[in-house]
């Protein structure tokens, strides 16, 4: 029983990262219909930036994260304005090609600015808590709590604020939203800013829990899209449930079936779910 609980805790920590990646992707895809492949590389950029502020400029971790978040918000706005807005009314394939090009560009910038070495964001959180044999490293606990806080904040923002309502309105029916007076030119800017900021948070979590290195972002974005499909395209609760299901399934598969095939098993479970619910766990039929 202790082993099962331990694996679930292991899975929740990595699942929390998947959720944040998927939340960023699902808001962009659900509202703008863009498969934003560069999201993983942008997340890594945020992680690298935090690492740079902490190690080169000696900033405290929280301050470094805050600045990286602000840079993330601005970067999101720039990505929308310069990369996606010019092709918004063109064929979908144009946005697809832009997304692929942007991924390579951001990867290249990361490589040029921060080098090819893997980096780990240093933290002072080295304690380990033990609850009846189930151990939780301090850092993982904070990652889980931070992910929960961000999910709650995102939910409140989308459900309870005017801007959130406007975002939902555009996602539901863009033409009706225009008739209702929603400024549909501003909404994509807000969506990209929030999406990128969430990505930066995920990048910081990956960078402190594990490592940031060239190629890590690509793997993350694949998992993010898997969560998106599993949870239901455009669904925020779906991204949360999907991320946690994927993280916990991976951990249980590695622990009780085969560590060599944990990714395969997780994706088999995902496909099995989609056979019965093609719209995803929380998607609308």
């Amino acid at each position: 029983m202790v082993e099962v609980l331990q694996q679930i805790i292991n899975g929740i920590a990595i699942g929390g990262v998947y959720v944040l990646i998927a939340l960023g992707l699902t808001t962009v895809f659900g509202i703008l219909g863009i498969a934003h492949f560069a999201h993983g590389s942008v997340s890594m950029f945020g992680g690298y930036l935090t690492f740079f502020f902490v190690t080169s400029w000696g900033f405290p971790l929280l301050l470094a994260i805050l600045i990286a978040l602000l840079v993330g918000l601005m970067l999101g706005v720039l990505i929308e304005l310069l990369a996606y807005r010019p092709v918004r009314d063109a064929n979908h394939i144009n946005a697809f090609i832009v997304a692929l090009g942007l991924t390579m560009m951001v990867e290249g910038i990361n490589l040029e600015l921060f080098g090819h070495e893997q980096v780990v964001i240093p933290t002072d959180f080295s304690r380990v808590f033990n609850f009846g044999g189930v151990t939780i490293p301090e850092l993982r606990l904070y990652v889980i709590l931070a992910a929960a806080l961000l999910i709650a904040a995102m939910t409140v923002f989308v459900e309870r604020t005017k801007t959130g309502q406007a975002i939902r309105a555009v996602a539901e029916n863009r033409d009706a939203a225009i008739l209702m007076g929603v400024n549909v030119k501003t909404i994509p800017l807000v969506v990209f800013a929030i999406s990128t900021a969430l990505g930066v948070c995920a990048g910081v979590m990956v960078g402190s829990l594990f490592a940031i290195a060239p190629g890590i972002g690509e793997g993350l974005v694949v998992k993010g899209f898997a969560v998106l499909i599993l949870g239901g395209l455009g669904s925020i609760p779906g991204a949360v449930v999907g991320g946690l299901v994927l993280g916990i399934t991976e951990a249980l598969a590695a622990g009780f079936i085969s560590s060599a095939y944990k990714d395969v098993i997780a994706f088999v479970v995902m496909i099995s779910v989609l056979l019965f619910r093609p719209q995803g766990l929380m998607g609308k039929a």
């Binding site: 202790v2 292991n10 070495e117 893997q118 151990t135 490592a211 190629g215 890590i216 793997g219």
Partner: protein
């Protein structure tokens, strides 16, 4: 009088022409980016350092000619296709005949499959897959011993420590890591021990807590970690976080700096690395200490333990070219490589077979050692049993 003066001038000019230095391009194909760069980049730097030293001490002397080395390095990303392309470019476009580097087995195996048919000599460094030197390719030599040569010695050492139930966590889809574990298991079983679990991870994996949780539940006496430095460092860190307090053994060849980027020195305390006797500052010979100092000064970073494999290649190549008396005849240089003694300048501690650096398979052997992490450093504790002649004879019986 005029004629005499002109003759003297011509003689002087000719003398000047004879004294003119020639340049010998040598190639490096290695992982400069990606997961293998932790091994490939230091190896490439080591070749550059050796070339600089050789040039500074007068170059390579071939008859009346003196050759200065020029290093052309390409990034093969530890990828078989990229490595094949890099070597083709070196041979076909750059006209290079001597190719060094080769940190990683997959990429090296791909090049080894066609190098026999080229007018070139391949000097393999850190790549540890056994099959690279089982086909007796005449124009290929390797400075690092195969993984199973070390794995057997490691198995004996762990058994002698009294461990009976060992859990393995490794990059087991990589051939040479799997062969290390197989040889380790054979020796452990001879002493009545067993491997209770074989858990795997991928080269890009950084979260091994699910596998470690499973291992913790099996209550082993010890764990054995085989894999690249970066994932291995995470395993050591996560093992402590999960409260696993059994001895941790490994086969990784990472430097102190590479490990402490991921895990704290406290989390690393007591970890063993059972590997060829590679460079650690505390156990280094005079050559090793000089290499460490020169490398650090040149590149602003400490060398990785396995980087001297390619440094030593460069000096072996120098001796072979001088012994063969040619840079053009690669067959003669390849044959001379198999005939040379261990050069004076090498850093690693080689065990010559029949007083030669490389055996008939083109394989060199180092001693194996047990290193332990103590207060922030890898400390050499003891030699591991290593019979180079017996292994060389065994290697000659294999042909795949």
């Amino acid at each position: 009088m005029k004629l005499t003066a002109m003759t003297a001038a011509l003689a002087l000019m000719a003398g000047a022409a004879w004294a003119e230095e020639k340049t010998l391009d040598i190639g490096v194909s290695d992982a400069l980016t990606g997961g293998g760069a932790v091994y490939g980049l230091p190896q490439t730097n080591a070749v550059k350092l050796a070339a600089k030293e050789i040039n500074a001490s007068g170059g390579i002397k071939v008859g009346d000619d003196v050759y200065m080395l020029n290093v052309i390095a390409y990034d093969d990303k530890a990828n078989p296709t990229e490595a094949s392309n890099a070597v083709r470019k070196l041979i076909d476009r750059d006209g290079v005949k001597y190719i060094l580097g080769f940190c990683c087995s997959g990429a090296t195996g791909a090049v080894a499959s066609f190098i026999e048919f080229e007018d070139a000599v391949m000097l393999v460094g850190n790549a540890a897959e056994r099959s690279i030197t089982t086909r007796e390719i005449p124009n290929l030599t390797r400075t690092r011993p195969p993984a199973d040569y070390t794995g057997a010695a490691a198995g004996t050492f762990v058994a002698e420590k009294g461990h009976k139930r060992v859990a393995v966590l490794g990059a087991l889809d990589v051939g040479f890591y799997a062969s290390y574990v197989d040889a380790f298991e054979k020796e452990l079983e001879k002493a009545g021990g067993e491997i209770v679990s074989r858990e795997a991870f991928g080269l890009k994996d950084r979260d091994m807590s699910p596998q470690l949780t499973k291992i913790r539940g099996q209550e082993p006496d010890a764990i054995l970690v085989v894999g690249y430095v970066e994932p291995a460092a995470f395993i050591y860190r996560q093992a402590v976080e999960l409260g696993i307090d059994v001895p941790r053994y490994g086969f990784t060849s990472g430097s102190e700096e590479q490990f402490t980027r991921v895990a704290t020195s406290e989390q690393m305390e007591g970890v063993w690395d059972l590997r060829p006797t590679e460079l650690t500052l505390l156990s280094a010979s005079e050559n090793g200490k000089a290499y460490h100092a020169n490398y650090t000064e040149e590149f602003g970073i400490a060398p990785s333990p396995s980087s001297p494999y390619s440094y030593d290649q460069t000096y072996a190549l120098k001796d072979a070219i001088e012994a063969a008396g040619t840079v053009e005849d690669t067959e003669a240089v390849a044959a001379a490589l198999r005939d040379i003694a261990v050069p004076d300048e090498v850093v690693m501690q080689y065990l010559p077979v029949d007083e030669k650096m490389f055996d008939q398979n083109g394989q060199a052997y180092t001693s194996n050692g047990a290193f332990q992490w103590q207060s922030g450093n890898w400390v050499f504790v003891q030699d591991l049993p290593s019979d180079a002649a017996a292994y060389s004879a065994f290697l000659s019986t294999l042909d795949d």
